[in-house]
Symmetry: C3
Subunit: 493 residues, 3 copies
């Protein structure tokens, strides 16, 4: 008792000291103070005989602090982009401001999972780590892979279903299934499904161009967590075989230690999973016989492969082209519950407003520069509860600039407009997550939802005679893609 009391007094004096110095020297925020107190408690309250527990305790403080910081960064300040005409535009200066909204992901939201001279894999943070608004898509992750010319990516498998879109370059992809090996030459626009646990290897067979893949992954183990499994690239520590006892590996392969060592690897090796391949190796890996199946057994494998260009465009006019592939076209998409849309928006033009009925759409910008605007219901649950006087929903604008590598999440039902700058076409690959029975509906132009309302519904809603409202609704006769403000002769910024 007296013992505990003394620890406690010591602890508090220590708190005092630390806080004073922290305050003087760092001017740290309350949140930092909290972390410091947390850490001090680790120091003081964990007994000397449990010395090993301190680092973990301290780490837990940091984790909590990081979480809390995230809420503060995201939760309070507005997600509202500025909509006054004078601030619209394509300048980089306002990038930082926009990056606060949880719907937009930039470079800093990616983690380099693998990064070498020959290539890199960048994985976007968990959507649900960014915001609770994304709890419905917590099992999904997005990533980019880039491989330099003449590079081989060593065989690996993941605990996730992967959907691969070839955004740039060409090469080959090989899947090792139970009874077959499937190899295909790949090019821009190709889509591949790599099932969880299926070993895949890739080669950039081109001499000059980078191979760029945009991927959606659907975790099948821990929701939103991804693990990659490989026998490494020659570095023992990066081979899963190395995690087993020597005797076990020797018994499994029925070989002696020296032979087993060949599988586990050697320190002297180049350690990356990206490997520079020789011209001979490239030629062999990219041989003409690719694209077929080599059955080892008699089971029939379906093709894991299609192209976004397989179907005619769903929409095409002078302002843009939309290609779509869903599970009716490519049954593998059912396993990952994703539909794919590829927007090519003419410079100065725009797509939408439109919305998705059931899918959350993840847009990954591949080429060009642009912006998006989205209507976001403002009247959150919380607000409603505290201000019972509120009656109607309110909408706020979320907007951001778009450029190569930006990722934007458009939740179910949220009306969105995507604009290309006046300089370049804007190419966007869109993955509709939880896409089962999803449809998209235009809110302007041909076939827009409002055009199906009865006259009385228009009249009662807008407070104008139905004919007047219909004149506005029916004026635009294009579908989905329209001339943007820029092409209509207005200043855009």
């Amino acid at each position: 008792m007296g013992f505990k009391a003394k620890i406690c007094v010591g602890f508090c004096l220590f708190v005092a000291t630390l806080l004073i110095s922290a305050t003087i020297t760092l001017g740290s925020s309350e949140s930092n103070q909290e972390m410091m107190i947390c850490k001090m408690k680790c120091e003081q309250t964990i007994g000397i005989d449990q010395e090993d527990e301190k680092p973990r305790c301290i780490k837990s403080c940091e984790k909590y602090h990081k979480e809390k910081g995230k809420w503060e960064r995201e939760g309070d300040r507005g997600q509202r982009g500025d909509t006054s005409g004078s601030e619209r535009g394509w300048g980089n200066d306002r990038q930082q401001r926009y990056s606060d909204n949880p719907y937009v992901f930039e470079d800093q939201h990616f983690t380099a999972r693998l990064e070498t001279e020959q290539g890199n894999v960048r994985v976007l943070q968990k959507f649900s780590d960014r915001s609770e608004l994304f709890n419905g898509i917590e099992k999904y992750r997005a990533s980019f892979l880039e491989a330099e010319p003449q590079t081989f990516i060593v065989p690996n498998y993941r605990d996730a279903e992967a959907l691969i879109f070839v955004a740039n370059g060409q090469g080959t992809i090989t899947l090792i299934e139970r009874d077959s090996r499937q190899s295909h030459n790949i090019k821009r626009g190709d889509l591949f499904h790599v099932p969880a646990g299926i070993t895949v290897y890739l080669t950039n067979t081109d001499n000059n161009e980078r191979l760029v893949l945009a991927n959606i992954l659907h975790s099948v183990s821990v929701p939103g967590d991804l693990q990659i499994f490989s026998v490494g690239g020659g570095d023992p520590e990066s081979s899963f075989f190395n995690a087993f006892s020597h005797e076990v590996i020797e018994a499994a392969f029925n070989v002696d230690r020296e032979s087993a060592q060949k599988l586990i690897g050697q320190q002297k090796q180049q350690q990356d999973i990206f490997k520079k391949a020789t011209k001979e190796q490239i030629r062999s890996l990219a041989g003409e016989d690719k694209g077929r199946l080599w059955p080892f057994g008699d089971r029939k494998e379906t093709s894991r492969h299609t192209s976004i260009y397989k179907n005619k465009p769903s929409v095409a006019n002078e302002n843009g082209i939309l290609h779509e592939v869903d599970s009716k076209d490519f049954p593998d998409l059912q396993d990952i519950n994703v539909a794919v849309s590829f927007f090519n928006i003419t410079r100065g033009s725009m797509a939408g407003p439109f919305y998705n009925t059931k899918a959350t759409q993840v847009l990954m910008i591949l080429n060009g520069v642009g912006r998006f605007e989205m209507a976001c219901p403002h009247l959150s649950e919380q607000t409603t509860r505290t201000h019972t006087g509120e009656i109607n929903p309110r909408y706020e604008q979320v907007s951001s600039e778009l450029r190569h590598g930006t990722v934007v999440v458009i939740p179910v039902g949220h009306p969105v407009v995507i604009e290309a700058s006046g300089e370049q076409n804007l190419e966007v690959i869109g993955f509709g997550l939880n896409s089962d029975e999803n449809e998209w509906f235009p809110l302007a132009g041909r076939e827009n939802v409002l055009s199906r309302w009865e006259d009385e519904a228009l009249e009662l809603t807008f407070g104008f005679p139905a004919q007047e409202v219909k004149r506005v609704i029916q004026k635009q006769n294009q579908k989905l893609f329209f001339k943007g403000p820029a092409r209509r002769g207005r200043a855009s910024g």
Copy 2:
């Protein structure tokens, strides 16, 4: 400065004193200490110049404490209503006592999401916000909509599948699907499925009666969160078009600013989504040609509509009637994984005991007054862990009075009895959530589960000769609905 420091020292001494005395005199729980600390903090940390804030601060302590107490009570003890004969009854005086159990939702658990003179929408709090016991139904929400006579509800869509039950009144409902507009006259007992993202509008076409809908929603975006999307009712801030830049809307509709303004709305407008309609508008919206489809394309739409009265009653006797609709009768129910039951219990009679094998049943009381009793396993996980001496499950009674607007959740497997008062029939709409392959089993009366046991099972379980037990089990020859205690000639309270 010195001021604050002194407050603090005082505060701490005060804490010490209070805690010591509290411990001695009250043996109070940590939770009470926590409330006391909270209140003290109100006293001490709010400056003298903010004297007015103290009562509010103290109130917030009490509120938090009460909430917390509720969690604790719900977790371990007090879901038990009082079962001694002298306290049963229909009086209002004991309402408050019952309202503490997490299975019963009253007025205070609803939030008015939309509320005007012409009507209101009241949405029940998230089930999982009430208790972790409802984590399995976190995607579902319940709501009531009431519209005054001759009222139009402006077109809107939601990020949720909705199942609508017409509890009272009549009107028309219109769904705008991809290639069709579907309108139906609706009346008491009708069921509609409004898919996520599908625009719907409603009219109460009656001159006198309110239209009352009881709804179950299944969120498809953020689990348990609901967002409504509409172009408002003339108020710019309540139109999602208003969230876009002027230039964008003008470009999308290819119109000038003045025309665009008609879509976005004007401040002078009546701002509600409930609109008083003229007789002409009502006549047109409720025209004879309703109930058909107007195809805009060649795609076939299935009907989103059925009635609880479509099938013959599952059970009907002098004590009550049960109507049921499941996904075999109405395939749309698969999308929302709900089955529907409508109980009309004769005054003085009762339904059950019965239980559901896989569904959690949400009962919404439409008419009449009654009570329910439910058997709740007492031996929670927590209890088991701490008292390893415990061996058998225990059951406690959860009970509450029922009246118009009460919502009750009956978890999977929990035996329940629903009684009507002696004054009126009790009408209850029941939504079985996660209903896939659900069945309900009676625990008394004809076809009750015990009547299928072998004699040896009865004997070994009850410790009486099988014939004696069977005499008890087989005495009641009605199914599901029985004379309640009141009709059997006993005092009910």
Copy 3:
């Protein structure tokens, strides 16, 4: 500065006081104190104008507290088994060290839910309570049931789908479905599906042997929570009928109080759900006519029954036998999304390395002694984020001794080896959770994944000429089961 310091001193004295009194009077845990302090800080440091943030802040305290508790219980000490040859082996002395890793569950991770002289039910803790790594299988639970000879287990139902594997002994099982009663004699290797809400009773009909069941349960109500419902075993408090008012039960069964009492039970009764049965009762319950259906109605019931020995072994050689049953063989497995594997590993032999593509495998050790080794990706998400310099995944060994009653979780994709000791065969029942479209792949021996790679892939990955690598990969010509290190003539510890 001085200002902040003084506040801080106050705060710390306050902390001191609180901690002292808490320690004296309540002996409350450090962890609870921490949560209280955390919550107070929420109250204290968040301004009145930010009232909305308090619940979030308080919730964060609770979350952190819960997390921290979990880490402390489990996580601190290493999950790395020792792999140096001298420490491998079967001794009990190192058990404690291994039991710290979250993948292995021993006696202390089970809770006795029911425990009497006649038998016991032991339920494993929630997987997700052990570690967030198991969030993907949070709906599943594992349990063992043991019943003494000539014991009857009274009828009961659960709010979970149950898959029962008969690990030892023989008896009868009876399921009461809507329109049928289904009874089967059961023996070692039998598999039964007991759907949620379906009443089941069991008899150990043998005179000498214990009946031992290994079960997987899939909760259908609260994820991971299990509730059992029964009319008890004569003890009023363990009958759900006792939770209802007397009048209600009397009305439901249309009997007087004395008769109703027979259903509710009497204190003098033996209170257990395990009942010693007489020879006559056993004879009747285990009669020749069992194994058929008694239809009460005209609905067709499918069989809930199969045997792990139904199919020929998937793999069988001198080193082991694998029997498998999946939903193609036994459609009921779809409802619970589980596949079943039964490994009988010859003494001194081993199974694997292999991995599962989509299922998390729960291994329950039935007989024998052994060990397992598993390769675990070391490069956790956290590590990646903080050390952006890291590039490649790393794998660590997780290993543990295995003996009767040990439960091991093998996550998706993780390569694993299971070894039998040199003394005895090792019998393991494996339940593949979330098994839809799961496959297992061998990583050594015949048909191993590496043998399907192209030569260039082998060459580029391992840095040796393909022929050299293939010589290692192709040496072992058995499938899945191999001679273990012990049988190959090495010391095993």
